[in-house]
């Protein structure tokens, strides 16, 4: 199979879905020019009426998507950086999440929201914060984040076809990661709500996603040399979350580490930990351990790496849960 980068995989998903469905369009800021490569060149094929640049006004920009979705179109909104969603937060979370349920509407809103997130660029808090946990807190929105080029293409395609709102950020730290992806036009999707065992193991289960999944794979390789067998599960989706796959793994390993590149407070890691306690307490031989960002604004510059989850912290947590 051919290999392409993670960011090109996302771009291919846009291209294929926009060719299939004339109702799909993108709205963002400078997506015609392409701040990031996933939108670069799309305007040449689809034109400025489907690759729509707005003024720097996030609520109004999101409003294009919200109103158009109510009118039956299928928008993709690119916020550029995850933190910028906060300028349209009421619309993205409350208005969008409650639309179908609270109005008893037969329809939901088929809106895809995306943005680059994560550490690694040393750009500090507003450009580095994660948003998956915050969005997952708000009912009515599906939340997913891919970790490989194959998943990126398949999950973005699934998100675009979904009749519900989906927030699907992508991690800037794996933008250029290469991986196998089927040829262009060879249709496949990766369904939302299904976790994936990225490495089969037997001693400990680690739940990790995106850049932290890549970090965990490195740690697992190192520990294998010592005879420690790590099973790695990629949640892929946070809402809906595939708890069964985690419980099935715990029946084998009895130990869980959750790596989540988000602030500890109110995080997805905490939700998983609580769910495992409630639904899988008897499977556990040790308390669930978490590797997260500490509760502080993410510093920029060199200081970013002092506080971020990394292979050393993941290894330490795995050794602790096995001790």
């Amino acid at each position: 199979m051919r290999e392409i980068t993670f960011i090109d995989a996302i771009k291919e998903a846009y291209e294929e879905e926009m060719r299939l469905d004339a109702d799909v369009f993108m709205v963002g800021q400078d997506i015609r020019g392409g701040i990031f490569p996933h939108t670069k060149g799309l305007v040449d094929e689809f034109g400025p009426d489907r690759i729509v640049d707005t003024p720097i006004a996030e609520s109004g920009m999101y409003g294009v998507a919200l109103g158009a979705a109510q009118e039956g179109l299928r928008p993709i909104v690119d916020f550029m950086f995850g933190g910028f969603t906060y300028y349209a937060f009421a619309e993205c979370t409350v208005t969008t999440g409650q639309y179908h349920f609270l109005h008893g509407s037969p329809r939901s809103l088929p809106i895809v929201m995306t943005a680059g997130v994560g550490i690694g660029q040393r750009l500090a808090n507003d450009h580095a914060m994660s948003i998956h946990g915050t969005f997952a807190h708000h009912p009515g929105i599906k939340v997913a984040m891919p970790s490989t080029p194959y998943d990126a293409k398949g999950m973005f395609k699934a998100a675009i076809r979904d009749n519900n709102p989906v927030m699907i950020p992508w991690h800037m730290g794996i933008m250029m990661l290469k991986g196998e992806v089927p040829d262009i036009g060879e249709d496949y999707i990766v369904p939302l709500g299904v976790a994936d065992v990225k490495l089969v193991g037997s001693d400990v289960t680690v739940l990790a996603n995106s850049l932290q999944l890549q970090n965990t794979l490195k740690v697992a390789e190192k520990l294998a040399l010592e005879g420690i067998s790590v099973e790695i599960i990629d949640p892929r989706s946070f809402v809906p979350f595939d708890l069964d796959t985690v419980l099935k793994s715990l029946a084998k390993t009895n130990r869980l580490v959750v790596v989540d590149e988000d602030w500890e407070s109110g995080s997805f890691a905490n939700t998983v930990s609580a769910n495992v306690m409630e639904h899988g307490f008897d499977l556990l031989d040790a308390p669930v351990l978490r590797v997260t960002l500490p509760n502080m604004p993410v510093p920029g510059g060199y200081m970013e790496e002092y506080i971020a989850p990394n292979p050393e912290k993941i290894e330490k947590a795995i050794r602790a849960v096995l001790a």
Binding site: P55, G67, A68, A69, Y99
Partner: protein
Amino acid sequence: MKLTKAQKVKLFVNLVRSYHYDKMMYRRLMQGKLIGFYHPAGGAIAPGVGACSFLNKDDNLNPHHRGHGITHMISKGIDVKTFLAEHTGKETGCCKGRSAWHFHYPDDKVYQQSGFIGHNFAPSVGWGWAAKRRGQNQVVMNCSGDGSYGEGRAHEALLMAQNWKLPIIFFCENNDMAIFSRSSEMHPTEHISSLAQGYGMDSVIVDGQDVFAVAEVVIDAIKKARQGGGPVFIEAKTMRYQEHDIGTPDLGGWEARPDAEHKKMREREPVNLATEQLLKDKVLTQKKIDEIHASALEEIAHVETYADSCEIARPTEEELLADIFVD
């Protein structure tokens, strides 16, 4: 545009219906027969009637929150039986009884209600954008109050609407009151419509107590927007007889509104003004006017009977949880 006799009659009928619907809602809340709260429309029923009586079914509408949008929606021709059913928690409510006071009439392009003042601006841009893209001459009637123009979203919407020449009517119903704060205190200019100048948008100010005057400027603005002429800002100067929502104090700033202010406002009651004019112009007789009132009251009695006869919605938590997403 000068109104025809038939147009004047239609406006008057909708005005009278609005007047009695608002009174009914007020009465029912006081009687404990309405769930939640009610933000009365008294004094400010003419702008919505003038704005919405000549919209097409496929035109988008965001009603003003005052009167919970009822004056706008009945004027657009929406059957609002299910509106009262929603306000009474019934399973036949327009939101399946899930929302108390929100409304949702997607077939008539009224999509959403929200407690966030100014929520209308962001989706209005999307409705206008979709309308322009489809090219089927739809317009967006985007109604909200003077207070909503404090929101940054209002300015983003004005910017994008004018930038893209979207068919949106920014219809500001200025009743001089944002909750308890006077418009003159919260806005630097006398007229909210002055904002339009900054965006190079056409604007017009109209007497919001005169339903016929409102309709005349609205019809012209809609015609312009339908022809691709872009958005228009209409400011209808209106008033608010009652408190912000029933049960809160009736204040101007932090002091009780003086009796003299109330007395002066009532002199310009829109139903009275319209009645006088129609009698003077011999458009309607007093007998015909009495029939219009009687017919409105009969319609409302049917709506109440319907809502009261429906069952309270009692889904289980599991049933509700199963309806967060669609397939």
